[in-house]
């Protein structure tokens, strides 16, 4: 199981909002596919799948906030 994490966003940004899951739970993704868009107070950032596999869990729903390092979802 590989987590999809909120990446490092520098030392001035500590959290982001999940604005859109680009793939559905259960979908198969390739490594590098954009899977979720997060939005900081500055801009939107697409987060890519770190590995190939199936998106088995969405941990943070659209509209919710997540801190840097938090698990957004899981790929197995």
């Amino acid at each position: 199981m590989t987590p999809i994490l909120v990446p490092q966003l520098g030392n001035e940004i500590s959290e982001a909002e999940v604005t859109e899951w680009l793939v559905a739970e259960g979908a198969v993704v390739a490594a590098g596919d954009a899977v979720v868009t997060i939005t900081t107070t500055k801009m939107a950032i697409d987060i890519e799948a770190p590995v190939a596999g199936r998106l088995t869990r969405i941990a943070v729903a659209e509209g919710e906030l997540a801190e840097v390092g938090a698990t957004l979802g899981e790929i197995a």
Partner: protein, 246 residues
Amino acid sequence: MQARLHRLGGAAGPVVLFLHGFGADRFSWLAVAPMLQDVAQVWTMDLPGHGAAPDEVGDGSPLQLAQAVAAAAADLAAPAYLVGHSLGAMIAHLLHRQDPEHFPLLALIAPAGFGHGADADFLTDFARLHAPDETRALLERMVAKPRHVTPAMVTHVLTMLEATPGRRAALARIAATLNSVAPLPVADLPKGCPMIWGDADRIAPAPDGFAGGLLPGVGHVPQVEAALSVRRALRAELARLAGAQA
């Protein structure tokens, strides 16, 4: 005239300094620069008249802006590898030509000032933005897919324009100067460093004769629209440099 240096992080590896484009600020690298902290000492900068930097911009020319960047970067260990976007790429190119040992280029992204030059109306209109709707419409000219212009980005730009009484005049000065500078021929593009351009760039499109590849379906801000591709290109170049020094 001052640029404002900002340390993002990273304890080891080469010093890399990111230079943003016209009307942007250090946060425009949010989807790229922080993720390189494991392989580089990462710094960003606010150009004069942008972000947290003062509004004094001199004559607004890339040359004077480059002098301010060099002064602000004087305390950085040399060499400081430059990554520039649009106007920031013009400045990186100038600094590199003046002192290639001190300022090697890591990559240029959608550099302004080559071929047909930049979209003059975009530059002029930017400093006059007031309403969210017109701001969104102008920013959408920068990207291939409108979803990359978020309400947060619109708010950020308008907040930046209102940040100080002199901000709009500073940007108008830079815009007027940029619009009066004759573009450089494609032959002047630097050799030996990655050039990252989108094939849907409407602000500063790749000039005729540009021999490199173009990112498909990407507009003027690849570091936002195709952040993964940009990160990969920068990581590959950093790995190549590390290999060359080993």
